[in-house]
Amino acid sequence: MNTYPLYPPKVRDGDNIVWKAIVTIFFIKTTILVLIVGSFVTPNARAQTTVEPHVSLKVENMPLKEVLKILELKTHITFSYLNEELPLDERITLDVNDEPLRQVLETLSNRCALTFTRIDNIMTIKQRKGEDKTKRPQGVGILRGTVRDSVTSEVLPYANVFIREINRGASTDNRGFFLIPSISARRGIP
């Protein structure tokens, strides 16, 4: 009784040569393919980094002006703006990990009503039309009130009132009254 081994039966030398040729051609083909693909991918990836830089950034309650400076250092983009037009002191909290710059700017745009226009490597920033802070007096409010003792209901003079989220505060006067002026309406107070 003939038993066949599990591995393929021995082939004649002629077959072997054909196989070798096929394998070699296959390898050459893959190499060529890899070379072609490689040459397409490399410049493309490079182009992408110049067109769309990615940013990782974690800031808390940082003025917009400082955030822009950090973005400038992290990318090759520079920002141009008119100082009096933008809310440069607006506090920004951001936590992004390797996100495209476009997305980071969109977040800033939503928070501060900005438009970004890119010219060359320069990003110009404008306040979005109709949302100019000077034309929107209703965009700024004040917070005022009286601080009283929870037990005796007596007014508390010279007490400190502080809104942690926007890092602003005031002291009560001798009648327990306090006032915190010009709080941006864009920031809700939780």
Partner: protein, 117 residues
């Protein structure tokens, strides 16, 4: 005047024989000497002051007549940027239109004017 001042990097001093030391302090090296590398950095400076420096850098006269626009403070950095880019940034930020005209001495100048309504 007998006073010794030691300057660290990024510090500058202004000295005058009559009035002595008139200013001393830190400065932004890019703002001060960036021009030698074709870098023009301005931080919160009125256009009135910025335009003449850009004119000198690019050799083209940049004209804005509206005093309220000239008083606007700008923050920007130009690094080896073309004249077209500089003009584009000014146009975008001020909202003015511009036209290139031939001024005195047959020299070209860029005039920024209010957009026609």
């Amino acid at each position: 005047v007998d006073k010794t001042v030691v300057l660290e990097p990024e510090e500058q001093v202004v000295f005058n024989n009559e009035s002595g030391i008139s200013s001393f302090g830190r400065f932004d090296s890019l703002e001060a000497v960036g021009w030698k590398d074709n870098i023009y950095k301005f931080e919160n400076e009125p256009l009135r002051k910025v335009l003449p420096q850009l004119e000198r850098a690019y050799g083209t006269k940049l004209v804005i007549t509206d005093p309220s626009v000239l008083g606007q403070k700008i923050t920007t950095t130009f690094r080896n940027n073309s004249e077209q880019t500089v003009i584009g940034v000014i146009k975008n930020l001020t909202g003015l239109e511009y036209s290139v005209v031939t001024g005195k001495n047959n020299k070209q100048e860029v005039r920024f004017v209010q957009r026609a309504r």
